[in-house]
Symmetry: C2
Subunit: 286 residues, 2 copies
């Protein structure tokens, strides 16, 4: 058995699915859950996702072999501070935060001598669904989990967290912290910002023009991610401020160029761009 | 039976599905298809979507009771000119183009005394799929079809085209030409431009950063429409230039505001916007 006592701080879609996967594989003896909402914790226990729970992070983290921080990014600094006093030498810590530079900085600020046993991670398996009721053991199968070990990270710690994710069926890849944040800003954070902004732009046009009544399937797919958790995405955008602002600037510049192509009826450039993009997108699906 | 001889110019997803729906309902005796590609027309005939075909528009349109122009917008002006010589007094003409001001202007320029029997239309039932092999009789069920009759449009012509679409299971609504183009620019044309642009922006970043490898489900949904037909969307963007440029400007301004919120860590405004947008999007799904 890989883990005797696993502590999941934040028992939602990701934390809950991880607990389920490890239990299903028989690789975890006891899961203690932690969260602010006791009703959610009771639900998680009833569903068999966790075996026990605490609303206090330091109580939950005590004697754990592995602590998984699956809290919103805005709570991460506080979480490091709260678990720090109860950490013992062999406790491993990992997280599932969508940005890594901010989390690494907070770990560095608050984990002291335990920093080498912190392995920053990010499973690429979000959804506009959330909460423990949406969790399932197979969520990570054939998904990628990115680990961004720090220069200080202990090899054994790194290997155990890698094993943990392999057990869930995920493909584990390693990446530099900054590289991770740039890539995710482009493929995940930027699309979310665009979807939220589009829906809000249209909502403001709507009063006089019944905009949404005539929206079709393309719009539905395009804006699905605007149903994601607002607070969580607020946290992500601010935690990944630099990389996100950079890619937003690039996108805004490119969009201005496309806008100019349309404005000036630059037929060839417009068709070339759409053709290139379609080709690229078709490769991605395949 | 509503239509004796139906002529479909452009036997693709939309034209093919319309023919299938009318035949399935027993409301159409004979469908003649027209297109440039004789292999596609043969396939359409084998599939039972059309009964006969011509590659020449005026041959296909001859003696038709209803002519449906389901060609790309870039071919519409040419189509009006080619069918004009064979129009007889009772022939009705409609189209399925995604923009209406451009089509109305072309009809006005080329249909002469037949203009009152042209009923501009737009079924909101696209897909990133296309071609007659993707067509099916139920495509329009519970979808909206927008008709934008001109001041000159004959009442009887309008009513018959309305009936035709009702038979397919669509809800037919009426709209002013300009209103249609504004609404569709916002809910359909703008999202397509954003999706194409995003994929192209990311493709240009990709060489050094393996961007797409780490894209997840949100990205997949968001960019699905970037797999749409490039030439068709090129035509739409240029045909709806004015309304699209206008909404692109509004979106670019709003995106700059969101970008500034992130840059300046304006936490409250950002969370408010995401919360508003999520609420609006959830209403739309429900």
């Amino acid at each position: 058995m890989l883990i005797n006592k696993l502590c999941i701080i934040g028992v939602g879609l990701i934390g809950g699915s991880l607990a389920r996967a490890l239990k299903a594989a028989g690789e975890c003896a006891h899961v203690v859950g932690c969260g602010r909402n006791i009703e959610h914790l009771k639900t998680a226990q009833k569903l068999g996702v966790i075996d026990s729970y605490h609303t206090d992070m330091s109580c939950a983290a005590k004697d754990a072999d592995v602590i998984v921080l699956a809290t919103p990014l805005g709570v991460m600094a506080d979480a490091f501070q709260r678990i720090y006093p109860v950490l013992i030498e062999n406790t491993l810590i990992t997280d599932v935060g969508s940005t890594k530079a901010s989390v690494a900085a907070q770990a560095r600020a608050h984990l002291g001598e335990h920093l080498p046993r912190f392995v920053p991670g990010h499973p690429i398996a979000g959804s506009e669904q959330n909460g423990v009721t949406a969790s399932f053991a197979e969520l990570f199968q054939n998904r990628r989990v990115i680990l961004t070990p720090l220069p200080e990270t202990d090899d054994q710690a790194h290997q155990l967290i890698q094993k943990m994710w392999n057990i869930t069926g995920a493909e584990v890849v390693e990446m530099e912290v900054m590289h991770h944040d740039e890539v995710l800003a482009a493929t995940s954070h930027l699309p979310h910002v665009l979807a939220y902004t589009l829906v809000d732009t249209l909502a403001q046009m709507e009063d006089r023009r019944e905009i949404f009544r005539f929206a079709a399937g393309g719009f539905r797919d395009f804006t699905r991610i605007a149903s994601s958790h607002p607070r969580m995405w607020h946290d992500i955008c601010l935690a990944n401020q630099d990389a996100l602002v950079q890619v937003l600037d690039i996108f805004a510049r490119d969009l201005q160029q496309v806008s100019d192509m349309i404005r000036h009826a630059d037929s060839q450039s417009l068709e070339d761009l759409f053709t290139r993009a379609k080709q690229k997108r078709d490769e991605f699906s395949g």
